[in-house]
Amino acid sequence: MPLAVDMRHIRKFFPSSSVLACDDVDFAVEQGEVHALVGENGAGKTTLMNILYGLVAPDAGQIFVHEKLSHIAHPNDAIKLGIGMVHQHFKLVPSFTIAQNILLGIEPNQAGFINNNDEADIVRRLSESFGLPVNPNARVADVSVGMQQRVEILKTLQRNAQILILDEPTAVLTPQEVRELYTVIRKLADDGRTVILITHKLLEVKEAADRVSIMRRGRMVATHSVADVTVREMANLMVGREVILRVDKSPATPGDVVLKADNLLVAGAGGMPAVFGVSLEVRAGEILGIAGVSGNGQTELVEAITGLRPVEGGTISLLGQDITHASVRKRREIGLAHVPEDRMEVGLNLKTNLDENVVVTHYQDDPYSKRGILRLPPIRKLAQQIVDAFQVKSARVGEEIKTLSGGNLQKVVLGRELYGNPRLLVVNQPTRGLDVGSIEFVHRTLIEERDSGAAILLVSVELDEILSLSDRIAVMFRGRIMDVLDAEAANEQDIGVLMAGGSLETEPAAAQKV
């Protein structure tokens, strides 16, 4: 088979984060195949594909498209070469209709004037010819995530893409939608199109791809035919050593109820409920894990509990005190700590130094400030303590933290949040994008914290993480908790059914209904 894409010796260094995202990467894709590109978060997959699509300029390397040396300096060049990309974060204009988004930049026009009806007709024909139904006149802001993704795919097809790049397309989809997507991908490949599928879910690779390339920390480590490689082997290549999935822990000894949420109602984007009638309890000395496909209300639930998003109905109490509408400060005073999903934007302030980042939750307390004036020596001592206790490598008191790696940044957040022994620790995706060593450190820290009596609410889309850390597991689907299982008795299959909206008693019928 001729090569559709052949990237050679690609190198990209990001000075702003001092990351070598692509380190002499070779990547070849045959025409008409579905080629999976896998790797942990931060491995450089998106960067490599952004280079192919002309969004990022490589420092070195050559790109051959259909075996011709090509210079791709701008997405326009890529589009002209028949390359289309569906980005991890959709690039749509919310107030525009589906038709307007699909035709953005290539609007049919007469002397610059456009006609909405023509546009709807074109999109209708397009969607019929590929069997991907859409309503051309619906506003993108009003349609589901799955539909938005379909719009993105149609956008590339309208531009006659022969090479399609899909960046983590399944992260936001329900299992049902994932299956539909695979059917579409297979059909496109059967038509002679080439599909590059970025993912870090290895089971999906087995199911959907012909060949697989594996990246690790900026390097391309292997390319295999999917038939010749097991999930286990792929996992080892991805992380660079045997993966340890089990964490040593003793059985939990749950104490009193620390967090209690009752019938919570929380709004999401677009005016629909993101959390719809959630009730849960977390006790001292236990970890309640929340499993679910990303985008099923987990983030909104965490934000409601931590005070970052208003609650529209129901109640939350912490150690018996009603905190449904309490300020973040009040919640923290009672004993809440929060390790947010996004450590770069929410968890830390990368524009300032280590000291300010660690003292920000305690700066009003005694030794750190007196009569409104910050006192540096105790703050520095605190920073040093956290650096030592959490082994934050290459972090120095008084210095910037923006050059630290993801793992070290997360240690700073953990160190700060665990200081002062919180009664409730809410953690959301605590190991996303971390290297294996840091993951183990975070996991061990969470277990230690549990054993010393804290209540922990753990939200993660990584099922392995949930299974290995939790004492009880709640599964969320479309804003509801489908069921709460005992971790001892839980298995991946059952949780999978619940994550898809099924129920364990009437499994086959319910799973089909969704």
């Binding site: 525009f96 953005l104 930049g105 005016g271 409920p273 529209e312």
Partner: protein
């Protein structure tokens, strides 16, 4: 109160609309014609200025330099037609001044765009610098070039000529209300339409709005974001320049130090208040014209016994009121949305719970 608004929100909205139309009609018949005419005239800088503001902001660049661009327009317009020694009424056609002002405004807009987009100077700081620079540069050049202090005037400077609209001119009421204004007044009305068509009916306008709403979406389909923003800022500058030229040549026939006195900032308020809709901005601008006209009108009436300072402040009071209304409107809309949400879905949740209980599951 909120419950009432919730249940009858449609009726309330229609009621408000009818009330609005009634108020406008009432104003039209009850206010003296001269006051209405000067309102329409004085609204012109606001119409052009708010179009300038909304165009830039639709393209995703907050244009805080409108004040400076208006002042530049006012100055160069007067300089263009300033010909000492020429007989009164024989000088250059003031429309030439308006064109030159539009060119300079556009030019400044272009420089502004290049400094911001190519050299990446902070937008707010850049705008403040432009405003300060123009304010001082006009004073400086007035002294150096013309030896004038505070005011640049000359008998050779003619005011903009007026235009009688055919047919409408002879209609009762409509004639005096709509006909007989200076050319730039009509130009401003035409620009409202032009900007609306541009934004909502052309391909380029679609790209402007896409860039303003989600820049990355526009970039990823190959729209040249920089070009779109440069164009929007240039056109925005031209509109602001024309607005300034109308102030100096349409209203006073002279240039006075700092004569824009906040109208550029007010224009930004108007654009916000009208949710960046050209037609909405037009009507909002008319209200500001009315406020300004009213302050002049009341000052000229000896029987009105209000402190003159207060009257002078009428347009500013209107601005602050508008800003408060913008904020209140956004807050009220948010509150309303949360209320409806809680009611609707709280109700559904209750139903769901009861359903579960009665069907005997636990």
């Amino acid at each position: 109160m909120i419950e009432f608004l919730n249940t009858y929100s449609r009726q309330v909205r229609i009621g408000l609309m009818i009330a609005g139309i009634l108020v406008v009609l009432l104003l039209l018949v009850s206010l003296p014609m001269t006051l209405l005419q000067s309102s329409i005239r004085l609204a012109t800088p606001y119409v052009l200025g708010s179009l300038a503001a909304l165009l830039a902001s639709r393209a995703g660049v907050l244009n805080l330099a409108i004040e400076g661009k208006m002042l530049l327009g006012a100055f160069v317009a007067v300089v263009t037609v300033y010909q000492p020694g020429v007989l009164p009424g024989q000088g250059r056609d003031p429309i030439l001044g308006v064109l030159v002002a539009a060119l300079f405004g556009g030019g400044l807009g272009l420089i502004f765009a290049v400094l911001y987009l190519r050299i990446r100077i902070n937008l707010v700081i850049l705008a403040l610098a432009v405003n300060l620079f123009v304010a001082n540069a006009t004073v400086f050049f007035m002294r150096v070039l013309f030896g004038a202090f505070g005011t640049l005037a000359d008998p050779s400077i003619r005011s903009l000529s007026t235009l009688q609209l055919p047919i409408i001119h002879n209609m009762p009421f409509m004639g005096p209300l709509l006909s007989g204004y200076q050319i730039v007044v009509y130009l401003a009305w035409v620009m409202v339409l032009v900007v609306w068509v541009l934004l909502f009916r052309t391909q380029f306008g679609r790209h402007i709005r896409a860039v303003g709403e989600n820049r990355e979406a526009a970039e990823s389909v190959g729209i040249n974001v920089t070009r779109v923003q440069i164009f929007a800022l240039t056109l925005s500058g031209m509109l602001a320049g024309m607005a300034g030229a109308f102030l100096s040549l349409g209203v006073l026939s002279q240039f006075v130090e700092n004569m824009v006195s906040g109208r550029g900032w007010t224009s930004i308020t108007i654009s916000l208040f009208a949710f960046e809709q050209p037609v909405g901005a037009f009507f909002t601008a008319l209200f500001f014209g009315l406020a300004e006209a009213l302050s002049f009108y009341l000052q000229s009436r000896p029987e009105v016994n209000l402190p003159p300072d207060l009257l002078l402040a009428l347009p500013q009071i209107a601005t602050i009121t508008a800003l408060v209304l913008v904020a209140l409107r956004i807050r009220a809309a948010e509150l309303m949305k949360r209320r409806t949400f809680a009611q609707q879905f709280g109700h559904e949740l209750d139903k769901l719970r009861r359903g579960v209980l009665t069907s005997g599951q636990d």
